[in-house]
Amino acid sequence: MSFNYDQYIRGGKLPHIWCPGCTYGIVFKSLLRAVDFLKIQKDDIALVSGIGCASRLPGYVDWNTLHTTHGRALPFATGLKLSCPDKKVMVISGDGDATAIGGNHFIHACRRNIDITTIVLNNFIYGMTGGQHSPTTPVGHLASTMPYGNVDPNFNIPDLAKGAGASWVGRGTAYHVPALDKLIIEAIQHKGMSVLEIINACPTTYGRRNKFKSATDQLLWMKDNSLPITAFDKLPPEKTAGKFPTGVLFKKEAPEYCDTYYAMVERVRKPKEGRA
């Protein structure tokens, strides 16, 4: 059962900076297991992030890692991927990083369907800066900039990704760890832009302010309030009210961006037969 995390973790970097109970560490372990399962070599994978607690993850893992500016991981990753289309490029981001300041890059990467596995760690808050509301903070909940209860409606990240054109969209949670391993594996295997939202707990800036006694309570909330999409789809609306679906939520076949681009390159570079 035991897994050798050490082979992937940069020497001397643990303990990581995340708070006690921050579930990012759970996801981190899942990511390592998934990439290991797929036998992707360390030199052949890059992990790119923006700014935020979530975005600190790449610093710990012994791949090619790039910690960019807030919200901009996807453009940097696009430059990398288009330059090295045969390498694996992943992005890890927070709800704020990916969908607030980074929203435009997010939808455009989805539109292009470029082969970047994008993992959004949604903890419903801007953790790094101390708990301001994000585009996913539930309405009515408290945040340091919503002292009277949040009035801002939310993004549904999978809906947004799908509406923008992503070809693979999924959702997992930090509670459902074995399922999460499988989802990350599938997201990576998918060729094209895959978006995996992972529900996380930030006890420090969100949980405590919103009456979750501990990180464990937040994990149990995930357990009690989610349903696999297969079950979710079968139930009548009364039974699914207030719950969120998990699993592979959307999937389609669509040409991948680098493929299309380099096919064009091939076409125009060929000596033009049958032409003057």
């Binding site: 700014i51 890692t65 790039l66 500016t69």
Partner: protein, 376 residues
């Protein structure tokens, strides 16, 4: 013998990039720089390079850095509003020492301003546009042929010093067509970044013990590394409140300021015995040359200092000039920007007089000549 072509300044810039080995362009269209992108969108696919139009200038700058980290010589081109948007990621490139070239074709501003009008009013922004301390190299060609050659030089400097390099010129030269000669391959030097020779285990991306410009490893080349826009140690990992920050940022500045001899280039015209000097770059430098001719014809000893490198600023040269001329005249398509630097370096040793113009027309030789007569 090279190839002769009649090209727009913007097209010459694209040709310069290709000559220098650029294989990646990311941009977002904006007048008056768009022809750089359009030209490369035709040419890059033909050499197997990548051309991508991003969703905005912020993304374009990010993609250029990403591509450079993968080892590609990368370019982006823009104008005022887009240049403002690129500033944050340009700062990332400077701190993380990512070679790349940014072209700013200057138009009337501020804000949307006069998109099709010329200006030279981003020149201080080239130096100070992003937050924090940062090293800046900025080249200012004045002729279409020079746009070509200075773009080649920009790539070389960016590879040599492992830093973004800006090429800034005004809309007039960007859009005007002149004959240029594109030298055959090998005629102009083309330089590549120094790559590590040590083992991957020993490699540190910001190892100052390797000199002010540490070798740079490409992503996916086996040298796994961490690159972050946080201040960092030599191994690339974040550092917080530490003397290292001071010494490392000093190194970044020193890379540029300490290599002024190598980086600074300029043309002088009849400056040896001049009593009045004109300090002008870009299209204003062209007018300056005509003004010198007019002045000399009228028996006035005028001369021209035309910087091709504006940042780092040719401080010593201007200081020396100030000690031997009566006045320095600074014509600019702005309300006065680079004159601040000239004034600073002149240290009160001579008069410094500006000529400003932002109505959409270039400063004429006559305007400069009149001022020469006034200050002589």
């Amino acid at each position: 013998m090279g190839t002769l072509k009649l090209l727009q300044g913007n097209e010459a810039c694209a040709e310069g990039a290709l000559y220098a080995g650029c294989t990646f362009f990311a941009g977002y269209p904006i007048t008056p720089s768009t022809e750089v992108a359009e030209y490369l969108s035709r040419r890059l696919p033909l050499i197997g390079g990548a051309f991508i139009q991003m969703e905005d200038e912020i993304a374009a700058m990010g993609a250029v850095i990403g591509a450079s980290l993968a080892g590609k010589k990368s370019l982006t081109a823009t104008s005022g509003p887009g240049f403002s948007l690129k500033q944050e990621n340009m700062g990332f490139g400077m701190l993380c020492e990512v070679p790349c070239v940014i072209v700013d074709v200057m138009r009337g501003g501020p804000s949307t301003g006069v998109p099709t009008g010329p200006s030279q009013s981003d020149i201080m922004q080239c130096k100070w546009g992003t937050h924090g301390d940062h090293p800046v190299i900025c080249l200012t060609p004045g002729y279409v042929q020079e746009i070509f050659s200075e773009t080649v030089r920009a790539f070389n400097l960016s590879e040599r010093y492992r830093t973004p390099v800006i090429v800034a010129f005004d809309e007039i030269i960007g859009h005007m067509r002149e004959k240029i000669e594109i030298p055959d391959k090998g005629v102009l030097e083309v330089e590549n970044r120094k790559r590590p020779t040590c083992s991957p285990a020993e490699y540190k991306p910001f190892d100052e013990t390797k000199g002010d410009v540490p070798p740079v490893a490409d992503f996916f080349s086996g040298y796994r590394q961490h690159i972050t826009g946080l201040n960092h140690h030599s191994d690339g990992f974040p550092v917080n409140a530490h003397p290292r920050i001071h010494t490392d940022e000093q190194r970044l500045i020193r890379k540029v300021e300490g290599n002024r001899k190598d980086i600074i280039r300029y043309e002088t015209f009849m400056l040896e015995d001049a009593e009045v000097a004109i300090f002008a770059y870009g299209v204003s430098g062209r007018s300056g040359k005509n003004a010198v001719e007019q002045a000399r014809a009228a028996g006035i000893k005028a001369g021209l200092f035309r910087p091709l490198t504006i940042w780092p600023f040719p401080e010593d040269e201007v200081a020396a000039l100030a000690s031997r001329v009566r006045a320095i005249v600074v014509p600019e398509l702005s309300l006065g920007q680079i004159i601040f630097e000239v004034e600073r370096c002149a240290k009160g040793k001579c008069r410094v007089e500006g000529i400003y113009r932002v109505d959409g027309d270039p400063i004429t030789p006559e305007q400069i000549f009149d001022k020469i007569k006034e200050v002589k």
